[in-house]
């Protein structure tokens, strides 16, 4: 880099010198005369001819004015040619002054080319000297520069080379995502993730189909029981045998249906046990959305949930909340209190309604299969919700506690913190 600077400046200096030489060679030396000035002299002398003694020069050129007799009428200074002959010897310019068509006198313009040549030489000498000096300085600077840049560092370099030899060159080649195929591999990754999700969705759909079957089969049992009771009554009141036989047949078949439904229910429920619960890390702030989603009637004020990472299956947890809230809507339909408690690596969500709760005897069985509380009345249901919810929560290494609170039934959903256990 520095070498370039030196070379270019050197070349520049050289070119400058050559250019100057060429200019000096080509340029015309002071061997010409400013004819406009000369004309001015002639014209002004002519104008002032009659009063030549008062005449003052305004051009700065050296000249003498003589009359026809050779008398000097005016001169700008001493040492000028003062007669025609002197002027001829000195190669001066001699011009006539015409006055009314007659030559009245002459102007002798002093030839100062010798002086100009001298000036010229001086100028050339100064310029060339300056150029050579500049070149000399450039060289000198370069030599000093070389001393600093090559000779001194040369000794330093020896040790430097050793260090380079020992330096590490094994930075591993890593293909970052900015490379050519980065975007391509990334989309592959996305594709894989999508497939995974689709699979999960399918399994979930299957599971919920089975849940439906279980629920349906349970619901079928109620009308079948009514049919049985009605046919029993019919048989008792029947007038003749054939009618009674028919009623008994109905009752028998109803029993058969009941057994079949029971079988179906048990079978699906067994399968339901395999309902997958896949907990993973979720952020606690997601709970708020889930609770709000379940409480679609907005009976509860969802409190602030402390920030933490929970270990739960988002889908199942949502189902648990859905179940709790829909039960409350179904059976008591009151305001709901929701409280959140952080405790020993667990997050407790306490949900309580204002329905007065259930009797102490019933409490232990609420989570049992097909168990429905005393306040069921005509409300449809399978008595299955809490059972499955409890199962889900246990699978998540959490729990579901049902009890009577101050105002009504209190359900506590216990969710473990990630890494809390």
């Amino acid at each position: 880099m520095k070498k370039h600077i030196f070379l270019t400046s050197f070349v520049f200096a050289f070119i400058a010198e050559i250019t100057m030489l060429v200019i000096f060679a080509v340029q015309k030396t002071g061997n010409w005369q400013d004819s406009v000035m000369v004309n001015e002299i002639v014209q002004s002398v002519k104008e002032n001819w009659d009063k030549i003694e008062d005449y003052k020069d305004s051009t700065g050129i050296s000249y003498t004015v003589i009359d026809n007799g050779g008398t000097v009428l005016y001169r700008t200074g001493a040492g000028l040619s003062e007669s025609i002959n002197e002027a001829v010897i000195h190669r001066d310019t001699i011009l006539n002054i015409e006055k009314d068509g007659i030559i009245a006198g002459k102007v002798i313009i002093y030839n100062n080319s010798a002086q100009e040549i001298k000036l010229w030489k001086h100028k050339v000498f100064t310029v060339m000297l300056a150029a050579v000096f500049v070149q000399f300085i450039i060289c000198l600077v370069y030599i000093i520069y070389l001393e600093y840049i090559i000779i001194r560092p040369f000794y330093k370099m020896k040790s430097f080379a050793e260090r380079i030899a020992g330096g590490n060159l094994d930075i591993p080649l890593e293909m970052d995502r900015h490379n050519l195929f980065g975007a391509f591999t990334e989309s592959f990754d996305i594709m894989r993730a999508e497939l995974k999700r689709a699979q999960a969705a399918e399994a979930e759909a299957n599971a919920s189909k089975k849940e439906l079957v279980a629920k349906l089969s349970h619901d079928i049992k109620t009308p079948v029981a009514s049919i049985k009771a009605a046919s029993e009554l019919g048989a008792a009141l029947a007038g003749n045998d054939s009618v009674r036989e028919s009623y008994l047949q109905i009752e028998h078949k109803a029993d058969q249906i009941n057994t079949l439904v029971n079988n179906l229910f048990t079978a699906t429920l067994e399968e339901l046990k395999q309902l997958s619960v896949a907990p993973c890390d979720i952020e606690s702030r997601e709970l708020k959305e889930m609770l709000e989603g379940s409480d679609y009637l907005h009976y509860a004020d969802i409190p602030v949930i402390p920030e933490c990472i929970l270990y739960a299956d988002k889908l199942r947890l949502q189902q648990v909340f859905d179940n709790i809230f829909s039960n409350s809507y179904k059976y008591v339909n009151t305001k709901i209190d929701v409280n959140v408690l952080m405790e020993e690596g667990r997050l407790k969500i306490i949900i309580e309604d204002y329905g007065g709760g259930v009797s102490e005897e019933e409490l232990p069985f609420l989570k049992d299969k097909f168990r429905r509380g005393g306040n069921v009345k005509d409300i449809e249901g399978a008595g299955l919700g809490l059972y499955i919810s409890d199962y889900f929560m246990r699978e998540m290494k959490g729990g579901l506690v049902v009890g009577n609170g101050e105002n009504g039934l209190e359900v506590t959903v216990v969710i473990p913190l990630s890494g809390g256990i």
Partner: protein, 252 residues
């Protein structure tokens, strides 16, 4: 009871990659004490560095709270965090990360002058620190690319300590060094710790971990266990033994 310098509550950090959320740190409750030399260990990807950067305000946690002294630093704006960092934290990186375009001295001063306008004081402190880490005057004027890795890392330590930070954070400081120069760097750490400097260091190197007086073992973004080596003197065989047992327990 030791004085608590830094405290986290349910600190969590998540990253989204390819559309799914990945939780790197989960519910970390941690207290760091003044004057302690805390070492964070764990397998690759356990979240060691993430924890370090979250603690140091280099990165904002997704959830949870970090308290430094009385100040809650989680939730500060990036610029306020930057001001926090320059006042209270020092950093030593695995890749050293000196500014390539500045001399070693300027690397240190550029950080020092950021906080303190007293230039003479800063230069004096820099010189003291350089002496402490055994970097001669001559090296101070060189460029990072002209000095050895060990020297560079020690210069990095000087830069980290120039503002007398409350905590020095070190992310695998010996990771890119060979064993001898690594040892020098570790000695430097021990020396400053003995003078009362709080240090938090991430490493997966047992030799480095031995320097700490409190070892935290991280797994899957959680603190799996911790081991207190404070009662053993440095260089004691027991120290090594206890650490080995702890690490074996943790599944190292």
């Amino acid at each position: 009871m030791e004085e608590i310098l830094l405290k986290t509550e349910k600190l969590s950090k998540s990253f989204s990659s390819g559309g799914t959320l990945q939780h790197v740190l989960k519910n970390i409750d941690l207290e760091l004490y003044k004057g302690s030399f805390t070492v964070i260990m764990g397998a690759s990807g356990a979240g060691k560095s993430t924890l370090l950067y979250a603690l140091s305000g280099m990165d904002t946690p997704s959830l949870g709270k970090i308290t430094f002294g009385d100040e809650v630093i989680s939730g500060l704006t990036p610029d306020k965090l930057a001001v926090f960092r320059r006042r209270h934290c020092g950093f030593v990186f695995q890749q050293i990360y000196l500014f390539e375009g500045m001399s070693v001295m300027d690397n240190v001063l550029s950080t020092g002058l950021l906080v303190n306008k007293d230039k003479k004081g800063i230069i004096k402190r820099a010189k003291e620190l350089f002496r402490a880490v055994d970097i001669p005057e001559e090296t101070q004027q060189k460029f990072p690319s002209q000095i050895s890795g060990g020297e560079a890392q020690r210069a990095g330590i000087v830069r980290a300590l120039i503002n007398s930070p409350e905590i020095l954070f070190a992310d695998e400081p010996t990771g890119a060094l060979n064993s001898k120069t690594g040892l020098d760097v570790l000695d430097t750490f021990t020396k400053f710790n003995e003078q009362g400097q709080s240090i938090v260091m991430v490493t997966h190197d047992m030799r480095s971990a031995r320097r700490g007086d409190r070892i935290l073992y991280l797994k899957d973004g959680m603190v799996l266990g911790e081991c207190n080596l404070g009662k053993y003197r440095h260089g004691d065989g027991e120290r090594h033994k206890k650490l080995s047992i702890f690490l074996t327990e943790m599944g190292w």
